[in-house]
């Protein structure tokens, strides 16, 4: 039985970041015992449900050809036992090759520009074919399955309320599946990964820190992310996420969800992938794509849920494109025009029904303030 907690890495290769600790996120249940589950102990979902589908993007309703990211569940047929085990396996692998990589500001990958999702204009699905009700239900433990089927009925009968309709932010990993431009700001000790919707930026700490202790840990919409670089691959471990839903019409997630991501920029054209021009530049074929493997661990999942996401670089090479390709401020309260009726359904204000809260005269209306 491996010891629980942390262990110090004594030998670091040249060019390695002084990442002193491995494993042992506070509250860790398995410490460094990150061996994958024995295949004798599990029956992979793919074996139970051959039609479940695995090669579907988190960011598009259709399949797309990945260049680097794999749809195969990491860690063997049933995956790793935990996000911690998964992360430590990747970290140990990097260390075995002299990593993690200690980047300078100039050696970091170039992820500049504005990025869009593969299909850009469509409603985004988190797992494509896997997002069929049957496929999603198969991934859940019995209680969670019952809850999901109840929630699904509420969606079908228009009695479900999407939290983002009332300006709560998309939680993580739903953050991946919302539209709008993406931005990435990389520094040696921290990466900011931004989504236009609700101006949401994730902070990925790559300075060797662990997650906060239980004393200081919180549950927030995007969680708390730590990571490391392995050459041009950014690995991220996220904990402390609020409970929520994966996406509209999709299962709930608990506040125990943890995720592992691996981000890398590739060139799909060089790789021979047949790419259609995107909707912004008529003849523009994006030669820069970031592929992200995402593995979600939640107590309500019967096995880790794994998929691949892709963003491509938008065409802003011309002055005309620069007029369009920039993220707008997402002032949700100003543009939000919805309320919940007595019947429990979401409805929309008609003109004049909602106070104009953007009008300074409203802020200083004595009759209103003193009523």
């Amino acid at each position: 039985m491996a010891k629980q907690g942390v262990r110090t890495i004594l030998a670091l290769g040249a060019g390695s970041v002084a990442l002193g600790l491995i494993a042992g996120g506070p509250g860790s249940s398995i410490g460094v015992a990150w061996a994958q589950q024995s295949t004798a102990e599990c029956v992979p979902l793919k074996a139970q449900y051959p039609d479940l589908g695995t090669s579907q993007s988190i960011s598009a309703r259709r399949e797309f050809t990945t260049v680097w990211g794999s749809y195969e569940l990491p860690g063997g047929p049933c995956g790793y036992r935990s996000a911690e085990a998964h992360y430590n396996s990747l970290l140990e692998d990097a260390m075995s090759r002299g990593g993690p990589t200690e980047h300078s500001i100039t050696s970091l990958p170039d992820w500049s520009g504005h990025w869009g999702t593969e299909n850009s204009t469509g409603e985004l699905a988190i797992v494509g074919l896997n997002s069929s009700p049957e496929g999603m239900a198969a991934r859940l433990t019995p209680d969670a399955r019952e809850q999901f089927l109840f929630d699904k009925r509420m969606w079908d009968e228009d009695h479900a309320i999407d939290p983002i309709s009332f300006c709560l932010p998309p939680n993580f990993p739903r953050w991946f599946t919302e539209y709008g431009y993406r931005e990435h700001f990389l520094t040696p000790d921290k990466s900011l990964l931004g989504s236009e919707m609700v101006n949401e930026f994730r902070r990925i700490f790559t300075d060797g820190r662990t997650h906060p202790s239980e004393e200081w840990m919180t549950n927030e919409w995007l969680g708390y992310s730590i990571g490391f670089w392995d050459d041009d691959v950014l690995t991220v471990w996220t904990r402390g996420i609020k409970e929520g839903i994966l996406q509209r019409n999709m299962p709930r997630q608990t506040n125990q969800m943890e995720t592992i991501e691996r981000w890398r920029k590739i060139n799909p054209v060089e790789a021979g992938v047949d790419i259609q021009a995107n909707t912004l530049g008529a003849a523009y074929i994006p030669e820069e794509r970031i592929e992200i493997e995402v593995t979600m661990y939640d107590p309500t999942f019967v096995e880790p849920w794994h998929t691949v996401i892709a963003y491509y670089k938008e065409d802003d090479r011309t002055p005309e494109q620069k007029e369009i390709v920039w993220p707008h401020q997402w002032d949700c309260v100003e543009g939000s025009q919805w309320f919940i009726t007595d019947e429990g359904v979401v409805s929309q204000y008609a003109p004049g029904e909602k106070p104009d809260i953007t009008n300074p005269d409203f802020w200083f209306d004595e009759d209103y303030l003193h009523q």
């Binding site: 983002i164 709008g180 509209r248 909707t279 979401v346 003109p351 004049g352």
Partner: protein
């Protein structure tokens, strides 16, 4: 200028499914499509959804301002809809799926304007002279 209001059966129209990215479309009546003519009062190009406001003159001469919901700017810009696509005073004919409860608002399915601007499914729409 004679303003017109026309009720059209959904079955008579081929309407692209709107993308309700930020909220469900349950509030709108998917069995009714209205075609309404009027004058733009303002166009709010804001997140999470944009809004076109139009003064509609009813058959008894009353003017009622309607609000029509569109997609968010991140999607509108991809189909060439700028913040000044509609301006105050533009005359428009809009096609909308109205609220179920009859209040003057709906989802904007399509529109044409006297400035030659066309949005969404505007098949058959025209601006009265």
């Amino acid at each position: 200028m004679k303003m017109t209001t026309k009720l059209t059966s959904l079955a008579a129209l081929i309407i692209a499914l709107p993308a309700f990215a930020h909220h469900s479309g349950a509030m709108f009546d998917d069995q009714v499509t209205l075609e309404l003519a009027g004058t733009v009062t303002h166009f709010d190009y804001v997140n999470p959804h944009s809004w076109l406001y139009v003064n509609i003159e009813t058959e008894d001469g009353e003017v009622v301002e309607w609000g029509f919901e569109l997609d968010a700017p991140p999607r509108l810009r991809r189909v060439g809809i700028s913040p000044n696509f509609w301006r105050e005073g533009d005359r428009v004919m809009v096609r909308t799926r109205p609220l179920k409860d009859g209040r003057p608002a709906g989802f904007l399915v399509g529109a044409v304007s006297d400035q030659g601007k066309t949005f969404g499914n505007a098949n058959g729409l025209s601006v009265d002279e």
